[in-house]
Each structure stands twice: as C-alpha cells, then as structure tokens.
C-alpha cells in the first residue's frame, strides 16, 4: 500500500458544505504507518451530527486503521482528532467510549455464554445495594434497560437470550445495544453487513436511520456501493490510505464512487491485440466455492452455523493460449476465492476446473502447478512470500525440486544446490531489475514494488502455460507497474494464457483481450476489449441493479 499518485481528490471530490454547527468529529491530517507501509496519509474526515457518513474503500485502503485511531485502538502518527470541536487524545478505547464513541466491530466481541442483558451492560452495570454496599449487579434493571433501548431504536432483542444461541444479525444488534447503553453519540459500524442476510441488512439500515434522526452520528465503514447509496448522507472514499473523494450521497453515482475507489493513472504499456487465441488452457464450468473464512476481510459473506453463503456461485469461463482474460470487480466479490479454487488452496463445492484439459478435482496444489499453473497472489506478504526469508529462498519455492536447483531423479533427488539457488536468484534479480542489497536480503526489507517483482519473477520463470495474476500491481509504484505489465504482455506474446484479476479498470483496459465482471460471486457481464469502457465496467462492478440504471447498459444479466 505505498502511496501512488491518486491525487484526484480535488477533481472527484466535492467538499461538504461548511456545517453550521460544530461537527461531532473532525479528523485533521491523520497519518499512520506500520513500518514501511503507509496505512493512512493526511486523511481529513468531518462527521456532522445527525448524519450517516459512509467511509468507503477497498480492502487495505486504510478504513479500518482510520476507525481504529478514531476509537483509540491505535494512536495516529500525525494529525489531530477533535470531538465536538475539542482536540482529544485517546489512550485507549475506554477514553473513546467516555467521549461518546461506540464501535461495532466486524468480528463481534461478545461473551457467548452470557445473556444479551449481561453483555449489553458489561463494564457499565446498573448496581443495587447488596450485602457489601452497592456491589451487586441489578439484573432486573439491566433487562429493563435493554428493553427500553430496543424499543427506542427498533432493535428487536430478547434480554434473557444467551448470546451463543443467536444469529449473526441478532448478535450485531447486541453490539449496537452495547454501544447505545453507554450513551454513544457517535456510532462506528465496521463492515456491518458482511455477516447479515438481506432482510437483516434492511432492518439494520432502518435502525441506522432512526439513530441518526435521533441525533446520533453514524459512521458506516463499507466497500459496498449500493449500501452507501441507500443509507448514507455523505461519503468519504479512501484509496491507498488517502482520501480520493468526498461526496454528498445525493450527488454521488455508482460510477463516480467506483472511480474514486479504484481509479489510477493510466499507464503506457498496452496490449497490441494482435494474434488469435489458441487452444483452451483453463476451463472453469459451473464453479461454486464457499467462503474462504480467512480473517483477511476478503471473504466477507460468512453466515453463522457453517455452510455459509457461496463466495463464488456458478461461474463458467475459459482462457485460451495467447489470451489475457481480465476479471474486474470491487474486491470481495469472489475473485480471490475463484483463484484459490483454481489453485487448490480452497475446495470447490461444485463445478469443474480443467487445466490444459485435465480435470483437477481432488488434485493437490503441487499437482496443479505441475500441470502448468503459476499464480501471482493478491496478498503478497501473507501468501506470496515469507517476509523473514531471503530473496533467494523466496524466489526458489516451487523450483526447489527441479533443475538447476534440485533434480527430479537420480541420486540428487530431494537435495538442493545452494550454489545454483543463489546463482539463479542473482540472475532473476538482474533480469527483473529488483532493487536489493543482494539475494540474501530478507524479502520483507524490500519495497512493495521490488518484493512484487520477486514474486512475479518466481511465478513467470516457471514458464507455465497458464498464469493467474491477482492484483499484480497493487501497492506498487508507477515505474514498477510498467515493467510488470510489460512482463505480463510478454507472457501473452509467448503464447501463454493469463487470467488477470484486478480492480483497476485502467489496468484491465490496457492489458486484457476480454473482460469479465464479477459481482456478488457471479460473472455479471462480459466485454470484448473493443467494447469495454470505464463507464460500462464501472456500472457492472457496482452491481446489476446499478448497471441497469446507467445510461449505457450492456445487458448485465449475462
């Protein structure tokens, strides 16, 4: 998440009108970095009293970090937080709660074995006189308080129910009640709809509106565009840790929000679109995949009690030799699960994946890679590398059993030549222009762009007929983007097949021969390169309903 140019805030944004009253919360010039990673840079955010303010951005855009700082979980490196016009410094969440903030986390923080009332009042219990002064929790008062709050905000809840037995939606209501019990005037909801069914979402939005009309300030953290449009008053969009757009919701459109979330400077390298595609290399038919459930936030539709909502449902497409097929979509719409199911790190629930004609059902990751698959993963630090290991070791995984490093047969089988490993690493470092102090430097010490070059060098040097590149230029500086795009086009020119998953529309327009759009786990649209435009793709990315209302619809219900 290095900072990229992305400075079209002024162009896209339209500053909210100066509020007559002092705003409930002001964040001014907030910055936060984790080591070399910039999570937030110079973020301004104004929350006016009695409004619902959406903070949107893709995974990793810095929304959660920003909210953690507002709630006192993290301390900003720079900038100022003002509540009701007064500068504050929170040493922890307790300070934030005392100042009138309440936060409903994406992952609930409740005691499963205790009742709703107990959870709601925990930490601020009504007390009554007992044997030892006022030391006894007044359970009756607690239950009455829950009933009263439920009534006032329309939050249906049984004070005596045990939390562990409740659905995700009911648990979320308990979290909200908990904040309201402590008289929170500023309510932060972090991806609140991720775990909810559509009906629960509707009733949650009703509660949110009711709270705002009652004078509360609600912050809705989300990456779902239709939620923003349906419930918020104002929107602030983050990308790469910076504010890239400010809108009054009434004036925002799905396309303008998508642009602010994903837009980036167009680059120079383009697909020449010459040649005709060859044989089918990857064939996916009727693929349905469950949720990855990894806490990374990418799998965002878990439902309680196992099973879960499908992250990918009934997806079919094929990629042929010498062709780049792009998959567009706001992240979290099933793209990652699709890639994981092709690679084999996530099981498919149903459907078929064929690599070079071989059905890979039940095959291990190693077997699939041996068939001719290479993957550039989205999560470079979490999945694509081992940050504590050297560049040489990182570039070796997957090549360690084959010549020149290993040997597939004979006495050398199973052994590695360290000399060959280092020589090969030096060669790739030179070829891919990786800026490093040497092949023995830990990859974690490299900049994002250079680490990504190492990952790409490793995967492309397999010379696999099928390459899947997931967000190959995410968090990469502009210079490196160009060289990475060049490499991917080289792969195409050499007759390789490439599946390119990206939420950068410009990247897809520059590279892909065909573009598929994923929304809510399905492919909702397909465009040949010459028919694809930012507006059309953006409309499809925002979901079928929005696309239909766009002036230039392209039959999104494919």
């Amino acid at each position: 998440m290095t900072s990229t140019s992305g400075n079209d805030a002024d162009a896209a944004g339209l500053d909210g009108p100066a509020a007559s009253a002092v705003p409930a919360v002001e964040l001014i010039g907030i910055g936060k970095r984790f080591g070399a990673v910039v999570a937030n840079a110079d973020v301004d955010l104004v929350l006016r009293r009695g409004t619902v303010h959406a903070v949107m951005g893709e995974n990793g855009a810095g929304k959660s970090t920003l909210m953690s700082m507002l709630f006192g979980l993290l301390e900003p490196d720079s900038g100022e937080i003002r509540i009701d016009g007064r500068p504050v410094r929170f040493a922890g969440p307790l300070d934030a709660i005392a100042a009138g903030l309440g936060m409903v986390h994406q992952h609930f923080r409740l005691f499963d074995t205790m009742t709703v009332a107990e959870n709601v009042v925990y930490g601020a219990e009504p007390r009554r006189p007992g044997f030892f002064g006022r030391g006894v929790v007044d359970r009756a008062a607690a239950a009455a308080r829950v009933r009263e709050l439920s009534e006032r905000y329309g939050l249906e809840s049984d004070p005596d129910a045990v939390v562990g037995s409740l659905s995700a939606g009911a648990r979320q209501r308990v979290e909200i009640l908990k904040a309201l019990h402590r008289d929170a005037r500023i309510l932060i909801l972090d991806e609140p709809t991720a775990v909810l069914t559509p009906n629960e979402v509707t009733s949650l939005f009703a509660v949110i509106r009711r709270a705002a009309e009652g004078g509360a300030t609600v912050v809705l953290v989300t990456h779902k565009i239709h939620e923003v449009l349906s419930v918020s008053d104002e929107v602030t969009v983050l990308r790469d840790g910076r504010v890239t757009g400010r809108f009054a919701t009434a004036e925002a459109t799905a396309a303008s929000l998508v642009h602010a979330m994903t837009g980036r400077a167009i680059d120079e390298v383009r697909n020449p679109r010459t040649g005709t595609p060859g044989a089918t290399v990857l064939e996916v038919s009727g693929l349905t995949v469950g949720d990855s459930g990894a806490g990374s936030g990418s799998g965002s539709r878990t439902s309680p009690g196992g099973g879960g909502v499908a992250a990918v449902s009934d997806v079919s497409f094929e990629v042929r030799a010498g062709e780049i097929v792009g998959i567009a979509g706001v992240s979290g719409n099933g793209q990652h699960e699709l890639v994981a199911a092709v690679l084999g790190t996530l099981p498919a629930r149903s459907g078929r994946v064929r690599i070079l004609g071989d059905d890979v059902a039940g095959r291990s990751v190693r077997d699939r890679r041996a068939l001719g698959l290479a993957v550039i993963p989205e999560d470079r630090r979490g999945e694509g590398s081992a940050v504590t290991m050297s560049v040489a070791e990182n570039v070796t995984l997957g090549h360690h059993r084959t010549p020149p490093i290993g040997s597939a047969s004979g006495v050398g089988r199973g052994w590695m030549s360290i000399r060959a490993e280092r020589a090969r690493a030096r060669e790739l470092i030179r070829d891919y222009d990786v800026r490093t102090s040497g092949e023995l430097q830990p990859i974690g010490a490299l900049s994002g762009g250079n680490a990504q070059k190492v990952v790409i060098a490793r995967e492309l040097s397999h010379r696999a007929p099928l390459v899947i590149a997931e967000q190959p230029t995410q968090g990469v500086d502009v210079g490196a983007i160009e060289s990475i795009h060049g490499r991917l086009l080289e792969h195409r020119a050499d007759g390789g097949a490439l599946l390119l998953v990206s939420h950068e529309i410009s990247e897809l327009l520059a590279l892909a021969d065909r573009i598929l759009v994923m929304y809510a786990g399905r492919i909702v649209a397909e465009f040949p390169a010459d028919e694809a435009t930012t507006a059309r793709i953006g409309a499809a990315m925002a979901g079928a309903a929005e696309a239909a209302s766009e002036p230039d619809p392209e039959d999104p219900e494919s």
């Binding site: 990751v365 890679r369 999560d379 504590t388 290991m389 995984l397 059993r401 199973g414 052994w415 590695m416």
Partner: protein
C-alpha cells in the same frame, strides 16, 4: 534508548545528535541473537535473586554449577547428558522448524526405551545385530507414535501442541504399567525390566562408563538433521512453512505430509534417546528413570533457544547440560536445591515464548 556511544556527527546537516547512535543501538537490539542471550541472562539474574532470597551466595552457587559440570572427573557423565539433551532437542526442533511444538517428548522417549528393552532383552542375537535392531525398533515405534499427531491436526484440527501434550502421559502410563506387571523383573522391589544381556548393551567408548556409542548415534542424527535442513528440498519446505504456512501451501508444499514426516522424525529422535538410555548403565528400563532427569524439557528449551537451527543446538544444549549436571553439584556444595535449574529453564522458555507471541502480534498488526 539513549545513546552514549554516538560517533561525532558527520556533517553540518546531520540530524539531532544522538539519532544515528540511537538507530545503531536499535539495529543492534534487533539482532536475532539479542533475545535468546537476553533470555539466558535474565534467567541467571532471576536465579541469583532467588538464591539471594534464600540467604545464600549466588556467585558460589553458580561457580559450583560450572565446576560441578566441567571438572575432569565428571566430563564423562556431562557428555552423556549433553547427548541426551541434544537428542531431545532434535525431537523438539524438527517440528519447531515448521512452526509446530512437540510437547510429547516424554511419551516418545519411554516408548523408545520400552521397545529397545523388549527387543534387546528378548532376542538372543549377537550384539552387532541386536543393538542396531533395538535402536531402529525404538525409532520406528516412537516415530509412529509421534506421527499420530499430524493427521489429528490436518484431519481434525487438533493442534499438534495439544495432541502431543495430551498423548504423552498416556504412553508414559502404559509403559509404566508394562514395566510394573507383564514385563517387570519378577521379585524386584522396584518396577523395572530385567538387566539386558551383555551382548545387548550399547558399545562402550574406550573405558568411559557413561558416554558410549549412543552419544555418537545422537550426534550423527544431529548432523543428518543439519544436512536435511540446509540442503534438502524437504528441509527447505520445512523452513518455508515455518516462516509462513500460507506461503508454503500456495507454493505447493503438502503441509499435511510434511507435518507427518516432521512428527515421525521427531518421535524417532526421542525414541533413539530412550533406546540409548535403556542400553546404557544400568542396562534396564526402570519406571520413571527416563523421565525424571527432565531431558525432555531441557531439550525443548535448548531447541527453542536455538530457534530450531541445527547448527546452534549443540551450543544451547551445553548451557542446559551444565545447569542439569552442575545443579546436583550445586546442591551438594552450595546448599542450593537443584530445582533451581528447572526454574532457570522455565524462565528461558517463558521469555522465548513471550518473544514468539510479541512477534506474532507485531506481524498481525502490520498486516492489518
């Protein structure tokens, strides 16, 4: 962190004095050796405080530990203990390399001892056949026992650290029962197997009475582990998974099989230690005698201190060997109970575990 060792500022636009020095100090503090060494120093300091609190002199006590362990007369014994601790360190280090904790060393150890006692005690074969057979048998049985934890983790999601810890007492109890009743020496007051026949005793090294060829076998295992760890595909995969499990799985490492192999190898190492102990003086399996010296946890501490690195294990094992052997001497000459060495081991483990937890938190936070 103030810096007293700041070199003179290099230029007019040098930042505020102290900055480069502070950075140097911070970089030095991040050196990988700092935490392990700090753990040992902290343990020794805490030990000193405890000794002081007991009204005794820590300098005398520590001197007694060192002289007790390293005086020429006891070196024979010290070396044999060093071997056992290295062996048990291997049992912990192999899974540790892929980020798993084997806390079942005791069970694997006694099963190996039992197997060796049964094979060596019952097969009337010449030494060159029966001794390797007993060692091998111990490795196979303990390896199989250790390997149980891998499918428990991959199929049923029971963490290896838990299953090894919980399976171990079962093995210990079963062996204890067998030694007491079906396999016990008839008429003996102690629960023990009969003495092994002369042919089935581990070959001696010259006229040493404690260290024998078993020590060489264990050192050979260490060398093998070092080679596999640094030069083989499996060792590379082990380190990759230890550094980042998801990266390994994505790269095509069969993590389940790897865990199976690592746990089998770990169990086998512990089994070999058990076999060597049984085939050394007093040449029988005595109930509880394999566990009571505490080699398992000394080995675990040595492995943790070495970060699982095979090249460092012999060095860290020296530390715990000295504590172990010298502890007895300390008790005799300085009147400090030998349990103090357990305390020191414990402190080292706690400090290192704390480091692991803190590291994890830091990476979690930075990837948030």
């Amino acid at each position: 962190m103030t810096s007293t060792t700041t070199p003179p500022a290099t230029g007019p636009e040098a930042p505020a004095p102290g900055r480069p020095g502070a950075r140097l100090v911070r970089a030095a503090l991040r050196h990988p050796a700092v935490v392990p060494v700090g753990a040992v120093v902290l343990a020794l300091l805490i030990g000193a405080v405890i000794i002081l609190a007991a009204g005794l002199d820590p300098v005398t006590a520590y001197a007694a530990v060192i002289s007790g362990a390293l005086e020429p007369g006891s070196l024979d014994y010290t070396f044999s203990v060093w071997g056992f601790i290295i062996g048990m360190a291997l049992a912990a280090a192999i899974p540790l390399r892929m980020g798993e904790f084997n806390l079942g060393g005791n069970g694997q150890l006694v099963l190996g001892g039992l197997t060796a006692a049964v094979i060596a005690g019952n097969l009337p074969l010449p030494g060159p056949i029966v001794i390797p057979l007993a060692v091998l048998g111990a490795a196979v049985v303990s390896g199989a026992f250790g390997a149980i934890s891998a499918p428990l983790a991959t199929r049923f999601g029971i963490p290896i650290i838990i299953s090894t810890l919980l399976l171990s007492p079962i093995a210990v109890a079963v062996v204890s029962y067998l030694v007491r009743f079906p396999l016990g020496e008839a008429g003996a007051a102690v629960a023990q197997t009969p003495r092994l026949p002369q042919d089935a005793r581990m070959w001696a090294l010259g006229d040493l009475s404690y260290s024998n060829v078993g020590l060489l076998i264990i050192l050979a295992l260490l060398v093998v582990f070092w080679l596999v760890d640094s030069r083989s595909a499996v060792g590379f995969e082990l380190r990759v998974v230890g550094a980042n499990r998801r990266f390994g799985a994505y790269g095509g490492v069969r993590v389940g099989r790897l865990a199976l192999g690592a746990m089998a190898a770990a169990g086998a190492a512990a089994g070999v230690v058990g076999a060597v102990m049984v085939m050394s003086s007093p040449f029988r399996l005595i109930d509880g005698a394999l566990i009571s010296p505490g080699y398992t946890f000394a080995g675990l501490a040595a492995a943790l201190l070495a970060g699982g690195r095979p090249a460092l294990i012999p060095v860290t094992a020296i530390l715990f060997t000295v504590l172990q052997v010298g502890g007895a001497a300390m008790e005799r000459s300085a009147d400090v109970p030998r349990q103090l060495s357990d305390v020191l081991q414990g402190v080292v483990i706690v400090v290192l575990a704390l480091r692991t937890v803190l590291d994890q938190r830091r990476t979690e936070r930075s990837s948030a």
